[in-house]
Amino acid sequence: MPASTTTPSRRGEPSRLQSAVFQPIGDAGRAALVERRIAEAITGGVLAPGTKLPAESELARLFGVAPATAREALHSLRERRLVVTRRGRSGGSFVAETANAAEFATRALCAMSRVALRDLAAHYLAVTGACVALAAQRADPSEILRIRGRLDRYTGNDPLTWRRLADDAHLEISALSQSARLTREQMRLQAEFSPFLALVDASEADRDRSRSQLLAVLDAVAAADSAAATGRVRESIMDAVDRLIDHRAELARS
């Protein structure tokens, strides 16, 4: 390969990597960015129906934007019926009671192609699998016991509590990799994938199945068996994707 295509040349054409640096960032305004961040949190179930949003001035401060920008974002969210604003003493902006995360996830699932869904799962597996492999080498058994203890103490079967518990457990196992980069990436992917996993775990039997899959991963990490840990993560993700695709097909038929 000629040198000019891989290294910056002083006079000739810029390299392809250099050209990529100066691509337009896009004209999505700052209000649209704020709107998208909040909308994703609502549709992803991170902000539950009825949750009070920070006041306009506080939102502006948190996002580092002008108050007018926060106001514009809230206006769009109201138009999309994701947020309602009430006046008076106990007033403020709230996540709409009709903003049902399961419904959003179902709609997103139906809109997603199978190839996109399997690709998301492949990405999730690459990161989570790498996390548990490292965790198996580096975690102290007492750290695994603590995660297990928390899962064991919850004997109920409330879908929302189970989802939070499972998300926390995934995050904690990933952090045991001792890799900040992998943990951050896992957190990002968990936020994207978790609403779909909530659909997989719709029934009590489904949640029991997911729980035993999670416990099997923990056992492998506790046994310092990297290969088994990654293998069990793969099995549970593949199983979840299969169940999602079946679910999607059912929805398409009805």
Binding site: L62, D168, A175, S194
Partner: protein, 233 residues
């Protein structure tokens, strides 16, 4: 153990204790003051998250400015069910902007994460002593590989929370490893779980565990002020 080895290990102990003493002292400087401030605030009405934030802010700033160490984050973490308007709360400032931490505003809702079992909260609560927790990936606050120094705060013998500060391992490696390298032997600092904090041995990665047969017979010399150990590997 030969005299030479003893000398190296004890010098390493002094270097590690000295380094973390700055952090422990920075927290000890306001541990009693904040207890007094919260007790006084309680007498004038229910203590809410925002009132707590206002009380903690000046101490957090002072801790972030501690000379001799680069503090990444600092503040006070309330005991569960000790505040009037929330079950839990972190009055915490961090990063180059010293921004106040808002958990609910992150990629995933960290506001639901239960911190009662995390090492920096659990150990000071249990022992009543200051603790050095980690290294660990701090997915709650810094999102970085971190050591948290934390000390318990009590009002009339009732635990009301911990004062804390975060040191990024990145900084600890830069600051502490050169001091250890001067001692002229391979020196590895591990926590009580056997996890490597920093090492002058280039082949030993931070975060690895010194476990298994290879390390069964290696001698560990405990530090005096900190729950860390020196291993000459």
């Amino acid at each position: 153990m030969t005299t030479g080895v003893t000398t190296v290990a004890s010098r390493a102990v002094a270097a590690v204790d000295g380094y973390f003493a700055d952090a422990l002292d920075a927290l000890e400087a306001w541990r009693l003051d904040i207890a007094g401030d919260i007790a006084a605030a309680r007498r004038s009405g229910p203590v809410t998250t925002s009132r707590l934030d206002a009380l903690v802010a000046p101490y957090a700033r002072q801790t972030l400015d501690t000379p001799g160490i680069s503090v990444y984050g600092a503040g006070f973490i309330a005991a569960y069910d000790s505040l009037a308007d929330a079950p839990s709360h972190l009055a915490w400032w961090q990063g180059p902007q010293r921004a106040r931490l808002t958990l609910a505003n992150q990629a995933i809702n960290k506001g639901n994460i239960d911190y009662s079992e995390l090492e920096w909260y659990r150990v000071p609560l249990l022992t009543g002593e200051a603790h050095i927790a980690g290294p660990y990936v701090d997915y709650l606050c810094s999102d970085e590989y971190t050591i948290t120094v934390a000390a318990p705060v009590r009002i009339d013998d009732v635990f009301v929370g911990v004062t804390g500060l975060d040191l990024l391992i990145d900084t600890v490696e830069r600051d502490l490893t050169p001091r250890l390298a001067l001692l002229g032997a391979d020196i590895t600092i591990v926590n009580t779980a056997g996890r490597v904090v920093v090492s002058t041995n280039h082949r030993l990665a931070t975060g690895e565990s010194l476990r298994g047969d290879a390390y069964r017979d290696t001698e560990r010399v405990p530090c005096l002020r900190t729950p860390l150990e020196i291993v000459l590997v």
